[in-house]
Symmetry: C2
Subunit: 237 residues, 2 copies
């Protein structure tokens, strides 16, 4: 472990399984032969964050204030930078970033960077309806001049049902198959890579099930987290 190692603050629980999946990926991506080589993470696995979808779509309770308090507690506890393993939550990123003096790493920006890395000019986005309505992926793709290939309303209805089943603990083969069908539909409409832009999706969907590169936002955020924590790249401002 580098002497420049940093402590990661994780705003978790959105959902709980996705947070555990993210932590497992950070561990797997860390070159380590013993406990002491690993990345220091302080994780607030907080199920009390109001539903991000309902806040964006249905005038539900704003999760911003709870997320801002979590961020402040993580900063006090010693975090050097923050991550949120939830794409929809990024609609509320400015409130979180404004509440602390440490950087918040954007899962959206690092995922889009990975999706266009090999020159894709059209990128499919599998994300929740709240996340798509907030437009975070579309904005980030537009900034780099890349077309966003999105699910139809019908496909989005299917996607939301699958994501909510995954959150309820159902992660079997039929859910994986249905999710792969949704990804393939984006490829058929021209996507040269597909973003798994909801942290529940990689819990069921394997890259092998899709014909183009499948970019898991969880994987990319975990890679970035390890590199930042080990001091291999500089923290964002």
């Amino acid at each position: 472990m580098s002497e420049h190692s940093k402590t990661v603050g994780v705003l978790g629980g959105m959902g709980p399984d996705a947070t555990v999946d993210f932590m497992a990926k950070v561990i797997a991506l860390t070159p380590a032969e013993k406990d002491q080589d690993h990345v220091h993470m302080i994780v607030d696995q907080n199920p009390k964050v109001p539903n991000r979808q309902e806040a964006i779509l249905a005038d539900g309770e704003d999760p911003g204030p709870v997320m801002a308090e979590m961020a402040q507690r993580l900063e006090v506890a010693g975090a050097d930078f923050l991550v949120v393993p939830c794409n929809s939550a990024f609609g509320f990123a400015s409130v979180v970033a404004g509440a602390v003096s440490i950087p918040l790493v954007s899962i959206i920006d690092v995922t889009v960077a990975a999706a266009v890395e090999h020159g894709a000019t059209a990128v499919g986005v599998l994300a929740t309806d709240g996340c798509l309505k907030a437009g975070v992926f579309q904005d980030a793709l537009e900034k780099v001049g890349v077309e966003a290939v999105l699910p139809s309303d019908y496909e989005l209805g299917k996607l939301m049902t699958l994501v909510n089943r995954i959150k309820a603990g159902y992660q079997g083969e039929s859910i994986a198959r249905d999710m792969a069908t949704l990804a393939t539909a984006l490829v058929d409409r021209g996507a040269q890579s597909v973003i798994a832009g909801c942290t529940e999706i990689p819990l069921v969907l394997d890259a092998a099930a899709v014909d183009v590169p499948l970019i898991s936002s969880t994987d990319v955020l975990a890679q970035q987290t390890v590199a930042l924590a080990r001091g291999e790249i500089a923290l964002p401002k």
Copy 2:
């Protein structure tokens, strides 16, 4: 989620995989249909805790002070009770308990209670050499009048090699088979149930591989954590 729900503070990173395994088990054991039904956990995944084995066996750096600081930070962050998903760490429990005003749940006591539940009069203990030297399982079994069946020095040498391989990320079939052989040796010497008393062991060893009940300390601690967090049982004093 009950209105009596409690926030769990997790002293983690001992090792990191075992902490993630514990968190996944808490999620799996919680009756939940949506994110908001889950248990609130604040987790300090801290790889900087000095090696517990070396502290007990080889006069290495004392992990007690680091664990006490972690406990205090978790209390400040809002934890109502503390758990440590590491058996060897329980050699340092009194330092942790003395540093905070919230209860520390003993992984040792809940595991021993589960191991003798069906009337076993001799219980096998697969645990690290530091944990066995600290005598935490032997003391707890003696208190309830049950014989502890322990690995021989030769078996313990094998066990430690396996545990360190697991901590380094090797969790394949040959390691699982070797671990099952060690458990079976305790059964052959009279154990009527076997405690998987190191949180790395259940990462490779299935209950089906052992002829008597295999009690995973991780599973038992997760069950107890869910029941305490949901207010189904009262917190220990």
